[in-house]
Structures are given as C-alpha cells and as structure tokens.
C-alpha cells in the first residue's frame, strides 16, 4: 500500500464537501476516482497534494502522515499532481518545462554558480538527456524545442505527465487526464499511463470518462456527495 486515505472530512463555511472518506491505493496500480461535478474529487486531490488541509482525518504516503506537510514537502516525498487544465509553463520550451520539473538542480541556487559551476553544467547535461528520454516516453518525441504553449491541448496533458516523471514522482495524481482531448489522444494518454504502471509507478486519477478509465484501472472508486459509495476491483 502506497497511499492510505483515512477518515478524511473537509468543510468550507459549514458546507461538508468530503465526509469520512477512506480508501487505499496499492503501489504499481491505476486507481480511478469517479464522481459528478461538485462531488469533492478535486478537493480530495488538493488535500492529498497538500494544497488544502482536511478538517479531520489523515493521509499517509508510504506510511508517513502528511498532515503537517506543505505542498512542496509532499512533492519532495514523491507525490506529483497534474491539474484539470494543464499547468505548464507556456512561454518556455518543452525541454525547459521538463527541466523545471526536476528536483534539486544545483542550478537553482545562486551561490552554486560561484562555488561549484562544474556540477551545474554536468547536471544540466545529464538532465537534458533524461528530458529527451521522457519526451519519447510520453509520446512527444521530436518536440523538445517546441514552445509548450504551441502544443495541442492533449500534448500539453502529456507534457504535464512527463513533468511528473522528471520530478521522480512515485504516486501520480492526475486530474481528468482525458478531459477535452480527442479519442486518438485519449488512446495515447492511456498507453502512457499503462506504461507508467508497468514501470512501477502508481496512478490515482480523477475522471469523467468512465469507460476509458475503467478499461485501464485496477480499482475504481465512486465518490458521491463527498462520500465513497462504492469500491470496485477490476479483474483483467
């Protein structure tokens, strides 16, 4: 078990958005979370990723309680997330987007340019090679130097998944990865997700497109009015 969500409740000004939500996510699986608009899916994602604190309950990642951790600390632990609308750096190249997502680049620190410039450029070179590999893995081969804002919407979604890979995330929280893209792109994204699963990554996704998400999922959760109504295990 990589993620344990335990009795999570969240209310905003007296409105209960999440009510005693509990579930487990196992490592190396794909779990889909379904629910109508306003059922609390995105709120749950915000809580797992540290952007919101729950009113009560706890989230454990690899047995570590995330309650007092900030979003960047949670990212450091290995939970990465995408957003409903891809949050990429639209004025930068695909390569720069991928490099920005990497952790602990020595080039982030000003004094490293004086103290250890050699390490910065070695790391930069190494990470550029990795960015090129990731580009291929997410189906964006040959688009490394393209401005991210010029990619199609579906390609931007693939890029945001690629950024999580560069970020070495173990658990990928994907907010509606199939929304707003054509069937061809849905297939491409599904393929990438299955490859991620095969490589040992864990995926928890929120989705409206039930048929496609169910097709690739190991487990499906139904969130209704803030509560988990049903857990369904998919047998291949």
């Amino acid at each position: 078990m990589i993620l344990k969500v335990e009795h999570i409740s969240k209310s905003f000004n007296g409105l209960n958005v999440l009510k005693d939500v509990s579930f487990l996510v196992h490592a190396g699986t794909i779990t889909s979370l379904f629910g109508e608009n306003g059922s609390g899916k995105t709120t749950l994602f915000h809580i797992i990723a540290g952007f919101l604190k729950p009113t009560s309950g706890n989230v454990y990642f690899q047995n570590e309680n995330l309650h007092h951790k900030s979003a960047d600390e949670i990212d450091e632990l290995g939970i990465g997330r995408t957003w409903q609308s891809p949050r990429i750096f639209k004025n930068l190249s695909v390569q720069d987007n991928l490099l920005l997502a990497t952790k602990d680049h020595p080039g982030e620190r000003l004094f490293n340019y004086i103290l250890k410039p050699g390490i910065i450029w070695r790391e930069e070179k190494r990470r550029k090679i990795r960015a090129n590999e990731v580009c291929g893995e997410v189906g964006l081969a040959g688009k490394l130097q393209k401005t991210a804002g010029a990619l199609s919407y579906g390609q931007q979604k693939l890029l945001s998944i690629g950024m999580l890979l560069m970020n070495d995330a173990e658990l990928l929280l994907l907010d509606e990865p199939f929304a707003g893209v054509n069937t061809q792109m849905i297939d491409a994204i599904s393929k990438v997700l299955l490859q991620l699963k095969e490589s040992g990554k864990t995926v928890l996704l929120v989705e409206h497109n039930r048929s496609k998400a169910t097709e690739i999922s190991d487990k499906v959760l139904h969130l209704v009015k803030g509560s988990i109504e049903e857990q369904e295990f998919i047998t291949p």
Partner: protein, 289 residues
Amino acid sequence: MNYLLHILIMCEIYIILALAMNLLAGYSGLLSLTQAAFYGIGAYSAALLLTEYKVTFFLAFLGAVGINLIACLPVIWFAIRLRELFFAIATLAWQIIVFAVLYNWTSFTNGPYGITGIPKPKVFGLSFSSLDSFVILGGIITVLVLLFFIGLHRIPLSRYFQGVRDDQLAMMSLGKKITYFKTLSVVISSGVSAIAGVLFATYFSYIDPTSFTLDESILIISIVLIGGLGTIKGSISGALFYVLLPELLRFINIPDAVAANLRMMIYASVLILVVMYRPYGFFGKYRFE
C-alpha cells in the same frame, strides 16, 4: 556635440534601468512600481558617500549597490508573497515611503533642496569629468551590466525566474520555493538599479527627490513594456525609444510656446499606438494578461 553626448549618457542610464526592470517584470512576472525608489536610493547613497564621507568613486559605487541590496529587504518582506496586482500595490507603497523619506529627512538628504556638488567619477587616477569621458565610463558600465544579464539569462537559474512568471502554482506543485526566486530577482534588480543611480548622480552632480518619483517608476515600466518583456533587445530598444523619440520630435517645427507639451502629447500618442498594435512591444516574448 555635447547634446549628442548627453543623449548617449541618458541612453546608458535608461538601458541599465530597463534591464533591471526586465528581470523583474519580463523574466519573473513581477510588476514593480518601486524601481525609481531603488534608482533613487542608489543615487542618494552614492551622492552622500561622495560628498559627506569623501570616499572614492569606486567605493561609492560598491557602497550604493550594497546599500540597495539591503534597502530592498522591506519590499521582499512585505511584497514577496503577493502576486500580480497585489505585488504591484505593495511595491507602490515602498515607492511612496522612499520618496517621502528623501523629501522630508532634510537633515540627511537635504530634502527638496537636494544634494549639490557631487564630484565627477575618478577611477584609478583617471578623471571622467568631461562629457566624452563620462560617455565612455557609462558605456563600459552599461556593457558590463548587459553582459551580466546576457549571462544570467543563459544559465539554468533564469528558467526558474520564468517558471515563477508563467505559473506560480505549478512551480509550487513541483516543489519549488517561489519566494526564493522572487527574492533573488528583487535583490539583483535593486542592485543593478543602484548602478544607474550612481551614474545619474555623478553625471548631473546634483540630485533631488523629484527625479525618483512614482512617475519615474511608471516610465521605467513603460520602457520595458514598449520594448517588449522577457528579452534583452526589448529593454534596450525600449530605452532608446524613450530617450530618442522626444529628441527627434525637437526637429519638427513646432512653435516654442507649445513645443514641450506637444512633444509629450505626440510621444504619449505613439505609446498608445504601440500598446494597441504591438501588445508584446517591439521584441517581447511575454505580456501581462
């Protein structure tokens, strides 16, 4: 000839200011309304160090930059966590505070009377008191500042500034400490603005608070917006446009009584046209939404 040399010096000063502003607005997405305050603190620091403490130009130069690195700390403290317009408003507050201090602390800054008799630069025994020698000194300093920014925008650090500019939330979700990059951007920009202040003070040998008002801050922003955000050539072209266009308008035959005002009206109209038809400025890569 002296007129042309004067224009060149003004170009040098505004290119430095535009490059400093471009790091904040163009690369880091921080719309600062306090650039004239940084510029003014640099000018006053140099002026006081040279006139009151009789230090060398070199020390005054380093002192002004050093003082500016400290003087930007309040901006970092109260504005760095804010975004977009809220950041702009917070920096506006610092601009007003600095102007009020320069204007009212008469025992130290001589208030509205300003500081006179600021000596011309002397570096390693070489005096830069003539106009042509000052152009050369200003040119050398401007080229060094330019090289600094070209280098800065080629290293990986620049990517993080641009990440903050494009999407702060995405940066946070990738585990980046955005306040660090914003702080760095403000510190560097403030330090570089001080260099322009030192040139201004030693060139005119006189400064008073009216050169460092909110109007000046807005003007510096308009320079980078017109030249284009996020590129070095945008900052340079914006500065040249600002300094040269009113001078070119002098050659149009306008009656003396209305010349100054009419020139500024034509200049303002050109600015409006640029904003309407070239929203990215001359060479911009980015614009505020």
